[in-house]
């Protein structure tokens, strides 16, 4: 069993938080994992990507080979497209529909969404709206993690435990918002097809 996941988004959208929760969940579940992330200059409002590899056997490369990712999980639709060459033929894309427009040449959003639709297995989630419903726009990343959860080899219960653990220092309210965001995302993904 192995699962290779490309996490994508823009610096500040909480990509590394998603990665950290998946890592912890893998650790609690007794799986091997490797996860690369972006620090330093590239993090300042630029494209951020993290490769997460889960397996019940030894993992060698920290990077996922092109054409091998089982899942692309993106908090931003254009960023989902940026890494399409990593997606395996049977792979799935789970992405937010909400553009993060901080560049002068951001393409027409309809064109971006249509390109995602060309991938036979794709799930769109309105993370902007659902995070608002959960109580904070900062929880878009947890909406997306929830939406992707049914494709993950990790158990929902353990994912939620990891969320609780991570946000413990920030208090019960933040834990509740993030758990709610996760559940709303999961429900939206289930209803999308």
């Amino acid at each position: 069993m192995k699962q290779d996941i490309v996490l994508a988004g823009v610096g500040g959208q909480g990509i590394l938080t998603i990665a950290y929760i998946i890592d912890n969940t893998a650790q609690r579940s007794g799986l091997q994992f490797k996860q690369v992330e972006v620090h330093g200059m590239a993090q300042r409002g630029g494209a951020v990507v993290s490769h997460v590899r889960l397996s019940d056997q030894a993992i060698f490369s920290d990077l996922i080979p092109k054409g091998a990712a089982d899942l692309i999980l993106s908090v931003e639709p254009l960023e989902a497209l940026r890494y399409i060459d990593f997606l395996a033929p049977e792979g799935t894309v789970v992405t937010s529909i909400n553009p993060y427009d901080n560049i002068p040449d951001y393409p027409d959003i309809i064109k971006v969404r249509d390109a995602v639709k060309e991938i036979s297995r794709h799930v769109f989630v309105d993370s902007g709206e659902l995070s608002g419903e959960a109580g904070s726009s900062k929880s878009q990343n947890m909406v997306m993690l929830g939406a992707a959860s049914r494709f993950l080899v990790l158990k929902e219960k353990v994912l939620l435990e990891s969320i609780e653990e991570l946000f413990k220092v920030k208090g019960d309210q933040v834990i509740d918002i993030n758990k709610k965001a996760f559940r709303l995302g999961k429900k939206a993904a289930e209803n999308s097809k």
């Binding site: 823009v10 610096g11 990665a19 950290y20 890592d23 912890n24 650790q27 091997q32 994992f33 490797k34 996860q35 690369v36 992330e37 972006v38 620090h39 330093g40 200059m41 590239a42 993090q43 300042r44 409002g45 630029g46 494209a47 060698f60 490369s61 920290d62 990077l63 996922i64 080979p65 092109k66 054409g67 091998a68 254009l78 960023e79 497209l81 940026r82 399409i84 060459d85 997606l87 395996a88 033929p89 901080n102 560049i103 002068p104 040449d105 951001y106 393409p107 390109a115 060309e118 991938i119």
Partner: protein, 533 residues
């Protein structure tokens, strides 16, 4: 010890803590910053010193002082940081290292956050010392721990060479029990006073040690040689994380190649020889420069053997390795890649944050320079280097720490007017003070703008040594004419005023220093959060 879920940098740092360090020193720099971040976080509880220093040279020398006293220390930095610390590094290998001294250097192949991709293995060879190159989190931990023993038994500084992909990869590490710190036992003066009389003796001693270092390397369990008796054709030499990319695809090769994994330097000659005698073709896979490949091939190659790698262009000479390029070099078909890849996806480069003080300084500078089409703005290393990108196009150079000040002096002497230097507060403290003193001595016609945002912003907000009044006092102390030390507040509402100040100082025929003082927006947020706690 428990299983720890940590970054490669942190795994190495943990190895140092468990090896019984008394101190750790560093200057921030991607991809090495997390080593010291980690040490600072746990230093109090574990009772050792952990300090951010003014620059890598100072950090190295502080660690060297600890070694002289007989205690263990680690100094960490990014690859180009070792250029700054090259003087103490090269000379310390001639001393008789007392307490274990480990130099952790993180290279940045692919230049994710750097101005070059120099390979630290050459430095280790240059200093004739041992270099260990981990390929996994566990090795980062184990090797750093082991490095202290090697340093103490051979009396040399030992280098750990990390690369970005391991430094910033999260994984799991099994720790071993922490051992006691060394007790103080100071070194002998004659082994540390590098007067020619002593230095000649010490250098001879270093040369005499080399066969022992080779013997260590050849017998080290960090290397492994797997010969496939059924395949006399292909052998792969893989070093560091290159090994991971080879193993990622090796299962698809039939018959399986013989693989030599190299993680220690000096190169384990006997293992390479054994592999060479077994196969005809050798593929060398290594992150960074073709160090191993060149060493094996020499100038003229080896008769009857086909050696490939970066020099033969089987792998790219520049940039970072990845599983795909290595797969191709192993003559395997690429995995199937979907056809729907789009060529119209625009890049999303890093950029200055909304509300960043540098934006307002660049705006004022650009407007002030509008009437001076021949102006050159020499810049430096930091977030403000992003001022080179659109929409600012505000700076013309970025070479190395502190070069903005010295280059604007050189530029002015070559006739450039206005010659402007732009440097951050932390970079100024790191390497800008000495060139400014140089500029003072000849009152060169140039304008230095110090962007004082009160933090080391690019690397994640480490503390700066001097900001605000303290920084200004340093500038005053260097002897800059007090009338031409100006302070501006980079805010939109002060734009006209700031343009005016910059123009005035450009018109002044001599050295001016303008300090643009406003804290980094991220740092302000962090401080607010901490207050709440």
């Amino acid at each position: 010890m428990t299983n720890e879920l940590i970054l490669g940098d942190e795994a190495a740092a943990l190895g140092a803590v468990h090896a019984g360090i008394s101190a750790g020193y560093s200057y921030p720099g991607t991809p090495a910053s997390e080593v010291m971040e980690f040490l600072v976080k746990i230093s109090k509880k574990n009772g050792f010193h952990a300090h951010w220093c003014v620059n890598e040279k100072v950090a190295y020398e502080e660690a060297l002082g600890v070694s002289f006293a007989g205690k263990r220390s680690i100094v960490s930095m990014k690859h180009v940081g070792l250029n700054v610390a090259a003087d103490p590094f090269m000379n310390s290998s001639i001393t008789r290292i007392n307490g274990g001294l480990v130099v952790l250097v993180a290279d940045d192949p692919g230049m994710h956050s750097s101005q070059n991709e120099q390979d630290t293995r050459y430095y280790a060879q240059f200093a004739q010392t041992i270099c260990l190159e981990p390929s996994s989190h566990q090795e980062a931990y184990d090797m750093t721990r082991k490095a202290f023993d090697l340093s103490e038994s051979f009396h040399i500084p030992v280098v750990i060479r990390m690369v970005t992909r391991l430094a910033h990869s999260r994984g799991r590490v099994k720790g071993a029990p922490r051992r006691e710190k060394n007790k103080a036992h100071r070194a002998a003066s004659q082994d540390w006073t590098l007067l020619p009389l002593n230095a000649r003796r010490r250098f001879a001693a270093l040369v005499e040690k080399q066969p022992m270092l080779l013997k260590f390397s050849q017998g080290s369990p960090f290397n492994s040689l797997n010969l496939n008796s059924k395949n006399n054709k292909l052998g792969i030499v893989a070093s560091g994380i290159g090994y991971n990319y080879v193993m990622e695809s090796a299962r698809d090769l039939s018959p399986a190649p013989s693989v030599l994994k190299i993680c220690t330097y000096p190169l384990p000659r006997s293992l390479i020889k054994e592999l060479m005698e077994h196969v005809d073709d050798i593929l060398v896979v290594e992150e960074g420069y073709p160090f191993v490949e060149h060493s094996i091939k020499g100038l003229f190659g080896i008769k009857g053997k086909n050696i490939s790698g970066k020099l033969s262009r089987a792998l790219p000479m520049t940039g970072e390795l990845n599983p795909d390029t290595v797969r191709k070099a192993m003559n395997l078909e690429p995995l199937e890649i979907r056809k729907s890849v789009k060529d119209w996806i625009p890049a999303r480069p890093p950029q200055l944050c909304k509300g960043c003080p540098h934006i307002d300084t660049f705006d004022a500078l650009n407007k002030a320079l509008r009437d001076y089409p021949k102006a050159v703005v020499f810049s430096d290393i930091g977030c403000y280097t992003l001022g080179a990108l659109p929409p600012y196009h505000a700076v013309d150079t970025c070479v190395c720490m502190g070069a903005s000040v010295s280059m604007s002096k050189g530029g002015a002497e070559a006739g450039i007017y206005p010659s402007v230097g732009v440097i951050g507060d932390s970079t100024f403290i790191h390497s800008g003070i000495t060139p400014l003193l140089d500029a003072v001595s000849s009152d060169r016609d140039m304008t230095v703008i110090i962007l004082d945002n009160s933090t080391v912003a690019m690397t994640g907000g480490q503390p700066t040594m001097a900001s605000g009044d303290k920084l200004e006092n340093i500038v005053r102390g260097l002897g800059v004419d007090l009338r031409h030390i100006r302070r501006i507040n980079p805010l939109k509402k002060h734009l006209d005023e700031n343009i005016h100040v910059i123009r005035e100082e450009i018109e002044h025929q001599g050295l001016s220093v303008i300090i643009a003082l406003r804290p980094c927006i991220q740092e302000t947020r962090r401080r607010k959060k901490e207050k709440k706690k």
